[in-house]
């Protein structure tokens, strides 16, 4: 917190823009990677920008009620808010954002905000596909949220802090990633990330073969565009969060200063998040999807065990 509001505001806008751009490009890269695995050329990497532009250029001549209008906005706002409480780069002046003591717990709530807003909006459309999709989504959240919370709790116990910045600082100072310090917590969090991304095998929410894209069924045009933007930003949020928590974050206050430092930090961030992103993507390529109860059962088996082991590790390591 520097107290200079102009720099802060610029930082916020830049963070949001960065998250949007990187998220969208990751979406395009994902499509490209999937296409290559499927023996195809695939769309250009910037395809998602064209899709977004087209979706924003569509007219909307149907209404289902206020919440339906608000749902995509809600998702977008939830994503950006979550983003603002995550230090994108460690130290530095530009991307520290609103981190504070206890933001880890606050983030846990923010992460499900988007889904809840979506649920309210979908409920108003009256589309049974959407309603079933939402109920599946909420039960899936109960699945992956528990290992995630367990792994966070393990870290909190281990390092006696609930602040992301402190955790990053510890990793920067000692040079040990938390992924090494508490591998079980990292594994549990990694499994939860698979669930959070809603890619195969956990893409039951919008499974086209069953629910015709589920909660999104009634959202077209501008709504879909906003959801896509929100989704891209949120994907970036999740990636940065895991990177910050377990992979040491990006940027170093001492090593880099000035614009060059920020740029180097960003490059580091992109490399780390991209490699992390490729895990759910490449698993998604070769996996069919679980049914809801199978997915929940999956999360409550190995990831939960890893989470518990992480806590035990945290307690006895100290």
């Amino acid at each position: 917190m520097t107290g200079n509001w102009l720099i802060e505001l610029t930082g916020i806008v830049l963070t949001a823009l960065l998250a949007f751009t990187v998220g969208m490009f990751y979406g395009g890269l994902r499509r490209k990677v999937i296409a290559r695995a499927q023996n195809r050329v695939g769309p250009p990497v910037y395809q998602n920008f064209l899709d977004l532009l087209k979706l924003q250029g569509k007219t909307t001549n149907v209404t289902h009620g206020l919440m339906t209008h608000l749902a995509p906005v809600w998702v977008l706002v939830a994503a950006i808010t979550a983003l603002l409480f995550i230090p994108v780069l460690h130290g530095g002046l530009w991307f520290p954002n609103f981190t504070f003591k206890g933001d880890l717990i606050f983030l846990l709530y923010l992460m499900v905000m988007g889904s809840l807003g979506m649920a309210l909006g979908v409920g108003e459309t009256g589309n049974p596909n959407g309603a079933i999709g939402v109920s599946r989504g909420l039960s899936l959240i109960t699945g992956y949220e528990i290992p995630f919370v367990l792994s966070l709790v393990a870290i909190m116990i281990q390092f006696h802090t609930t602040s992301l910045t402190d955790l990053m600082h510890y990793q920067q100072a000692t040079g040990h990633w938390i992924a090494r310090e508490n591998p079980f917590a990292f594994l549990a969090a990694l499994f939860s990330v698979l669930g959070m991304f809603h890619y195969s095998p956990f893409d039951i929410i919008g499974a086209p073969a069953e629910l015709a894209s589920g909660p999104m069924s009634e959202f077209g045009g501008k709504y879909l565009g906003s959801l896509m933007t929100g989704g891209s930003i949120f994907a970036f949020v999740k990636l940065v969060l895991i990177t910050d928590l377990f992979l040491g974050g990006a940027g170093h206050p001492d090593a880099y200063t000035g614009a060059a430092g920020v740029l180097l930090g960003l490059v580091e961030l992109v490399i780390k998040t991209f490699l992390l992103y490729m895990i759910p993507v490449s698993i998604g390529i070769v996996m069919p999807r679980f049914r809801t109860e199978q997915a929940v059962r999956f999360f409550w088996r190995w990831p939960l065990l890893f989470g518990a082991l992480g806590i035990i590790w945290a307690v006895f390591w100290k």
């Binding site: 195809r40 049974p128 073969a209 069953e210 015709a212 070769v286 069919p288 999807r289 679980f290």
Partner: protein, 374 residues
Amino acid sequence: MIMKTTSERNKQTTLFIGPQHPGITGNMMVKLLVEGDTVVRAETHIGYLHRAFEKLIEQRNWLQSFTLLCRFCVPEPDPMELTYARAVEAIEGREVPPRAKYIRTIVAELARIQSFLLWYGGQAGSAGLYTLGQWTVGDRNYILDLFEDLTGARIYHMYIWPGGVRRDLPKGWADKTRRVLDYLEKRLDDYNRLLFDNAVFQKRAQGVGIIPKDKALEWGVTGPPLKGTGIGNDVRKDEPYCAYGELDFDIPVYEGGDVWARALVRRDEIKQSIRIIRQALDKMPGGSYYNRIPNPMKWRLPAGEAWVKTESVRGEIGFYVVSDGTEKPRRVHLRGAAYTHGISVLEKILPGQNIADVSFILNSLGACPPEMER
């Protein structure tokens, strides 16, 4: 009492799978009454593809009807032509030269393989594994290329005629076919590693959509679903037609009656089809490839009737053909395998299943709407 019924009704939702739905095979509708995620009642609604073929065939002459016939079932048109041609031959008593029999066998088996490849895509796609569909449907083009060389068309061939086939094998076609088969055999291992070795697919498929063994025959189940219940009935073995009697092949049979068993049957059937084609290419006799038919505009068949069955990918298909001694058929009635699978069998096995498995089961039964309503 009234309170109870209303609360029961509130718990249940009506869900339409189709006609516009990515999970449906073709253009049909399954109306589901669901409670939570479980299907309580299922009803199949068809008629979206009704083109009145059987009426139109009564307006066409015996040969013209072939253009309509192959469109009965889009993923696999050749068995339709084959069955109808055999029915016409049975009424007329026309002989088919041995070379034509072998060519017909090859065409029918190639059609089976391409349809199985399409099925791979559907089955895996309905489970959310899109990569396999991209591979198999892409590789299916190689077989369609063979068809194009042989008949001039990718999908609708109109190649099998009464009395033989329309064209002889082009030069070099046999070698090309062998190369494609070698390639496919190599790729099949990839497909099977991706699909059958996948723990998620095993979990999804095992114990889902069970057809009881003791009811299977009575329910009119045929083809891979029947072989998946442990009953190895196959028209190619039971009543050999074309050159099947002279070729060596096995009928894969698996116990269980679930989606998994049906998938295993199909996996093995492709290998058998490749084996059959290789043998047929090796044993291919010389001679004429067709028996000349008279001027088709004035070609009359003797009065009579025929009931002819053929094994297709989805099960047995049959044609009931009645001739009244004129240039035009009196009645051509198709019994499609999907006619039972897609309607009565589906309605019987869906209750109690998860919504997630509806299109999964639909694909494994091989429901083909154009075949049901014609």
